[in-house]
Amino acid sequence: MSMDATTTSTASGTPMPTEWRDFFTLTKPRVMTLVIFTAICGVLAAPGSIHPVLGFTAILAISMGAGGSAVLNMWWEADIDAGMKRTMNRPLPGGRMRREDARDFGIFLSAVSVALMGVAIGWLAAALLALAIVYYAVIYTMWLKPRTPQNIVIGGGAGAFPPMIGWIAVTGEVTAMPILLFAIIFFWTPPHFWALALFVQSDYAKVGIPMLPVVAGEKPTRRQIWWYTLGLTPIAIAPWAIGGTSWIYGMTAVTLSALFMWLAWPVGQRMRAEVDTMLPEKKLFKFSIYYLFALFAALVLDRVAAYQGWIA
């Protein structure tokens, strides 16, 4: 990113500096809240201790990495974004920023995040962060998203990295627990997103992105929502089953997963009526957000209680 990053936005065609807020918008701050939350949970739930300054740095590095890959995603998809109502006012399709500035900013943020993680925390966590960035920006955004209707499943993998990296930043080793945290978000993403895709009209078809409900149709999408929910349940309960957590997490996971299945079942079975409020799909989508936050909060509560000696 050149320091005189400009875009021609005045009526007379005079170059005007890009607003700093537009650079911030490129990092997808709303997506970042979930990244930060799950990364914090990974750091807090991991066994062992980390100095608060280093814990903060690990979460900062993960957030910067997520931001950097989001910027690269927006850079690559500027033309796609320009064709959709929801995204046409983003900084690049809106003409408020030069493309090369977005690309350079994304590379810069990504590189700094990995270097920060490596220097301050360790190179295993840094390597995983680099992998997560490449996975999202290259494998997902550039390669598979425009090619397969399973793009949401693949994209879910990118969102699944933060708690795993947070955990490994503390422990310095890859064990079953961080892999399970990864798997929980990986399996949670398809029912979460496809429930939304069923009741929100999107322009993806117009811009040539093969989303499952559009390409395969409603029925297969509903069936896959159910199967991923069913797959999610044992994975969500597994941390307790393998002895990685106590009953606090275990009971929460069992209850929440039962509710998730209870809400996903009608979504998986029914078909849209001619006049349809899509209530089951809306309920499932809303619940899926609470599900993930509550599950990770329960994990942190469980582990903190165990490390403090409040429970056996």
């Binding site: 005045t10 005007m16 607003e19």
Partner: protein, 41 residues
């Protein structure tokens, strides 16, 4: 450039300079803290 455009130009550049300065300052403090913590390990 009209006077309005000139004012807008200056405002944007100034705002961005403040953000860059703040970010740099933040990282100076952060790296100082990281160094102190790591030296104590």
């Amino acid at each position: 450039m009209t006077p309005e455009e000139q004012a807008e130009f200056t405002r944007r550049r100034k705002a961005r300079n403040y953000v860059v300065a703040g970010t740099l300052l933040f990282f100076v403090v952060l790296f100082y803290a990281i160094t102190i913590v790591r030296m104590g390990d």
